[in-house]
Subunit: 423 residues, 2 copies
């Protein structure tokens, strides 16, 4: 199907055939959800040993009784787990509660109102401040900015990561740019892994940005590979040390898609100065994180080999789902101009671009046929996709059989919406 | 020992005798800590069944898989646990993570920056805002205000709770008073339980305060009785309903001193309007709380009877410690003018008032004899006790034998500092 070369008669014939196909799909009364990056039940079961894993021993390796109050930075073995996931030095890691989103919100909030390096460094002193948002990106990053009143400006995502020419030019032109959102490995939603050159250039932004500028390096999919020889992400902490820009990057990760998403451990890795500023503010909000759950996680995943084994089990469950989605897309659109998509080597999403102006219509059609997709526009700040083309597919929750059905609906909806947009 | 009637000669003799006694106490090289309200190891053990209590069943009563993401308000059975502790309706309760301090910080922060009832209700719109702080009180309440730039004004604590004549007069005189800190039962540190009249009057503050005013009702010791027929705190939610002021109170509690302090569940109870505003902001900071740990707690403490049994076991451990401290105080100061203190019927603290100007000296002397006390002044905003007289004693962590030693040091330090202040 090549719409650009189609005659009006052809378009009308296609529309009629697709509408009829769509109607019969509707009659299946499906109820499928491809909206969020959630592990499936099968994946959750991989970590069921967590509850009870302590076998009555509530002592951390250094003798800390994890049941009681205290320990703002988390216990050492949990910080080591974070270091193993992010491949950073353990003394740069803080282990927190169950949500890296909370850590990101707190980092932005503390930097905005209190300053990470003293009150004089608070972003609010600058008046209106701006974050650069590579698009398409992660909707919950945007809601953090929106909630805190931080302006968002978009930058295109390329196959190598954010368009660094644009990022550098914008930062040079505007001293009120205080942040850059990054999902550097298996980017949400495009699946891109930042190239070495991109990481090197990001590590040098601290030289041209205002001193309060921070890269929010959300390494959510650091170990979430779907292939045997996965792409390696350059070590940004090491790159920053080389360039003397250690304070310009805050790294985030969690066990959310490694163990139990709702009940995991989140991590912040940062320079000594940033950790000092962060914990000074954090200490006014809590006595400390859930160290019992941190110890459980350290027992379940004591070293990098254990993490690798766990992630291999996840991959074995997830891979057929990704394969199913990609097969349907290949078959339906491999020889057409109706869409473009990535073939991610890890992560949780497949990003699909329709022809301009069709994404909302596709999501609506799919919903009306019982297939829930992430709202079109969600991958852009303020929910505004200027081209109305990006759709994020999250294939992990449904079974492969369900995905077969969902993808039949999806491809039919893309075709129908695309044809109708030409009529 | 009555200092007011002592001659200079007597004072000098006392000083010499006490200094010698103090020196011999110093030679014991003690290392005891009476600083924080932490459960003892023996108390922690009461909840060791938590880890493993789910026995592989990660389903909440309504079928929710607690392992996965979601559920911002917490699972129903955890909310019921909060309702049982606070004796409120379950539909007014949100169950969160491990820290009620975090909930209080968030409530203050959300109210300040975002507004609990829409952006127009944000405290920041008023310019500088003020919290009333009954003193002596809880230092971590003050650090929340200090961190957020909220001004604090003190109100005296009476045996019936905050001095309500003053509270009402101040609120009538200042529309920028947006908050009142309360620990209504076994108040930190005085142990006072607010009288019915006080609660009734607090419930009516919403009629005279600005619409954005909120009582922060930190019911940290709701079930932490040390006697068989404990005093009953009037139900403030019911009182507010009667007076049509439901939006004026936010109630907080947690399982921190019921199960494992670092790994418990915290609760917010609030009106529908307040919960709506709170969760709207909360949803930008997290996908949801640790529901697995919530389910563990619901299993351990399924009803009010289970809570009562658990708290009786705590009381059996704590009571001898409180008795030891009180015996020492009675024996040393029962017939003197050197200090005043409360005999709390529950909670975690004994509050001791020295003669004016002696508290800092006592804490310093005790520290130099190996007994760590909460810094003098910590029970006042900005750490400033204008009379320099209040000392908070936290007797739960040391053993009774250790408390015997610590209290010997304490009374000697009080006597020595008091005498020296007259020389």
């Amino acid at each position: 199907m090549q719409l650009d070369q189609a005659t009006p008669v052809q378009l009308r014939e296609w529309e009629a055939a697709l509408a009829s196909e769509y109607q019969s799909l509707q009659q299946q009364s499906l109820n499928l959800d491809l909206t969020r990056g959630k592990p499936s039940t099968q994946q959750l079961t991989l970590s069921d040993a967590l509850d009870g894993i302590l076998a009555g021993n509530y002592k951390a390796a250094d003798g800390t009784d994890v049941r009681n109050y205290g320990g703002l930075n988390g216990i050492l073995e949990a910080r080591q787990l974070g270091a193993n996931i992010m491949q950073v030095e353990v003394d740069t890691v803080l282990a927190a509660g169950n949500s890296s989103l909370t850590l990101m919100f707190q980092a932005a909030q503390f930097a905005l109102h209190f300053g990470l390096q003293g009150a004089a460094s608070a972003w609010k002193n600058k008046g209106e401040v701006t974050f650069l948002c590579p698009v398409p990106g992660y909707d919950r990053h945007y809601t953090v900015c929106e909630q805190l009143g931080i302006k968002m400006v978009t930058v295109p995502m390329l196959a190598s990561g954010p368009d660094m020419d644009k990022v550098e030019a914008m930062i040079k032109a505007d001293a009120n740019i205080v942040g850059l959102w990054c999902v550097p490995k298996y980017s949400n939603p495009t699946g891109v892994v930042y190239s070495d050159e991109t990481v090197e250039r990001i590590a040098q932004l601290g030289k041209i940005a205002c001193p309060e500028f921070r890269v929010f390096w959300d390494n959510a999919y650091a170990v979430h590979d779907l292939v045997d020889n996965p792409p390696q992400l350059l070590d940004i902490a090491a790159a920053c040390r080389k360039h003397g820009t250690e304070d310009s990057v805050l790294q985030f990760a969690s066990t959310s898609k490694i163990t139990h998403p709702g009940a995991g451990v989140a991590f912040l890795a940062a320079s000594a100065a940033n950790l000092k500023g962060f914990t000074a503010a954090l200490g006014t909000t809590t006595i400390g994180p859930d160290k019992v759950n941190q110890l459980r996680h350290a027992h379940l995943l004591p070293d990098s080999a254990a993490i690798r084994q766990q992630m291999d089990k996840h991959a074995a469950i997830i891979k057929p789902r990704f394969a199913c989605v990609l097969q349907h897309l290949d078959k339906a659109f491999g020889d057409s101009d109706l869409g473009n998509w990535e073939k991610p080597l890890g992560g949780y999403f497949i990003s699909f671009d329709t022809q301009p102006g069709c994404a909302k219509a596709v999501v609506k059609l799919a919903a009306e046929a019982g297939v829930k997709l992430t709202p079109a526009g969600a991958t852009f700040p303020y929910g505004q996709d200027p081209e109305d083309c990006n759709i994020r597919i999250a294939p992990t929750v449904p079974s492969v059989a369900e995905l077969e059905q969902a993808m039949q609906v999806f491809v039919t909806c893309v075709k129908l919406a695309s044809v109708r947009a030409r009529l």
